[in-house]
């Protein structure tokens, strides 16, 4: 029997090789892939996020943890699809126009993926129209916007407007984040939610899906 706690530890330590091999072994033994995700990988990422908040982890540790989780997810995702498990939701995510900061956005994307969402990452400096086109094309349920500059926050508003203009606003929930962004700003521009960290972004996305 695989010691599944090892999976938790491998993700937390950012050991992609180990998380992959434990995942493979567990699956070979018939463990439910969904259980691996929800009981071991997500708690590991939550713990990584918690350590980041209190200053025990820094960006490199978060990024290798996310990478380890992704390595396991690559094995698990096709199995879930084969089982007919639907993604919790379909997310289109990107950093808004004029803004090139992507570390936070990448972490949010990784966490959402771990949380069972299908994630389409459009990258950085993404124009409002591009968000709108991708939302339609991917039949998105959530559009997630990241901005790190006060000067590019208005691009978030422009993106909300572009989604309206393209007629997709009512089919998606919009969530926003990034260091200078606030709940107040989210309310102002008519976004559906804001969260301040990658870990809480998953909770937010789930809540928005349920609403």
């Amino acid at each position: 029997m695989q010691d599944l706690k090892q999976l938790y530890q491998a993700v937390l330590d950012g050991n992609a090789k180990l998380s992959k091999s434990v995942t493979e072994a567990a699956i070979a033994e018939g463990v439910d892939p969904q259980k691996l995700v929800t009981e071991f990988m997500i708690p590991a990422m939550d713990e990584a996020g918690r350590r980041y908040e209190c200053g025990d982890f820094f960006v490199p540790e978060l990024l290798i943890a996310a990478r380890a989780m992704k390595a396991s997810l690559e094995i698990i995702r096709p199995l879930l699809t084969a089982q007919g498990t639907q993604p919790v939701g379909r997310v289109v995510i990107g950093t808004v126009k004029g803004d090139l900061h992507d570390i936070g956005k990448n972490l949010v994307a990784a966490m959402l993926e771990g949380g069972g969402f299908e994630v389409n990452d459009l990258g950085v400096d993404v124009a409002p129209e591009k968000f709108a086109a991708a939302a339609r094309e991917k039949n998105a349920t959530i559009v997630a916007l990241s901005a790190l500059l006060t000067t590019t926050m208005p691009s978030m508003k422009a993106t909300v407007e572009a989604l309206k203009a393209a007629g997709v606003r009512n089919h998606v929930k919009i969530m926003i984040g990034g260091a200078p962004v606030t709940q107040k700003y989210a309310d102002e521009i008519g976004a559906d939610g804001y969260s301040e960290s990658a870990a809480s972004a998953v909770t937010l996305a789930r809540r928005l899906m349920a609403a």
Binding site: F58, V59, P60, L63, R67, L100, D102, V124
Partner: protein, 335 residues
């Protein structure tokens, strides 16, 4: 005492008549003369005109060559994204060292070869003719961590620390040599101090900072001192956990952004500290009273070895009166 004399005296540990005032301005400065930021970043004549206009209008003691972190990477051959009214950026998807083996073939660009580095050297020279008697002139280079991130892609560099420490050191060596060459020509052109921007260093935490970044920052600072210049270290973000290391480098000035000044003072001894008025919350969004109150508190925490400035770049859209209030505090107080 004019501005230049004031800064020189302050850095030499001699008495000064007023607090020294050295806030970083970039996009704000371009806006002051109504220039597009693309022109500010690409044409030293625009940068120099804007810096001098800001320094005069707001009584700054210095002018600076800083504009964006992409100059060196551009001359190395990296893909640069230009924006009309924003700083040029680097595209990580197409980073110069997306493939690590490219480092072996990478050549240090000639800083006088006519590229974006040369434009900065020309800025230093033009400052010297236009304001060399009255203002203190700051040149600028990127620190090891920031420049390595610009060449390799910041997300990749962050994981390289764990995956391939030897590569990181090799890359830092390349950066160190390139930046010291770049600094030398800026000093020869007229820079009185070299600012070292190492933004990404605030992301790595104390263990990686001490193991990888600090030794190269130290060699960079020592190298700059050997060139006969002074050093201002600027690491944006939260540097609380690496203050001690930053204080051990022997820089003439250390900037603080999100780390508390009182803690920095405790950990860095007699070091001259610059900052750390919150750029967005106080300087841009606060009232003039907020600005005065906050900078007085910075001064109180830092004590006499203190230079007035914001934690990071003065944001575009900062009200004129707020920056004037900051200047008024400096002009009406002695250290």
């Amino acid at each position: 005492m004019n501005s230049r004399e004031r800064v020189l005296a302050m850095l030499a540990g001699e008495p000064v008549d007023q607090l020294v005032l050295m806030p970083i301005t970039m996009m704000f400065a371009a806006d002051v003369i109504g220039a597009q930021y693309r022109d500010y970043a690409l044409d030293h004549r625009v940068l120099v005109e804007a810096q001098i206009a800001v320094a005069e209008k707001y009584h700054f003691d210095y002018v600076s060559c800083i504009s964006d972190p992409a100059r060196e990477a551009a001359d190395c051959g990296a893909n640069i994204q230009l924006f009309d009214n924003q700083p040029p950026g680097l595209d990580e998807q197409r980073a110069l060292l997306a493939d690590k083996t490219a480092l072996a073939k990478l050549k240090i660009p000639d800083p006088l070869g006519g590229g974006r580095m040369t434009d900065r050297v020309q800025a230093a020279a033009l400052f010297k003719t236009k304001a060399g008697q009255s203002k203190f002139i700051e040149g600028w280079i990127e620190g090891p961590c920031a420049q390595a991130a610009d060449l390799r892609g910041i997300n990749s560099l962050m994981t390289d620390f764990f995956d391939d420490p030897a590569f990181v050191r090799e890359l830092f060596e390349f950066v160190l040599e390139m930046e010291l060459k770049f600094a030398r020509v800026q000093i020869e052109a007229g820079a009185d101090i070299i600012g070292v921007g190492d933004a990404a260093a605030s992301l790595v935490g104390p263990a990686l900072y001490e193991e990888f970044v600090l030794p190269f920052e130290k060699r960079m600072v020592d190298g700059l001192h050997a060139l006969g210049t002074r050093v201002r270290l600027h690491i944006c973000g939260n540097t609380r956990r690496i203050l001690k290391g930053m204080g051990s480098l022997g820089c003439e000035i250390v900037d603080l952004d999100l780390a508390p000044l009182d803690e920095a003072r405790r950990q860095m001894g007699n070091q001259i500290l610059l900052g750390n008025l919150n750029p967005v919350r106080i300087l841009r969004d606060g009232t003039t009273a907020d600005v005065t109150h906050a900078i007085a508190e910075c001064h109180r925490q830092a004590g006499a070895r203190f230079i007035v400035g914001a934690g990071c770049e003065v944001p575009r859209g900062t009200p004129e009166n707020n920056l004037l209030a900051l200047a008024a505090y400096a002009r009406s107080h002695a250290p």
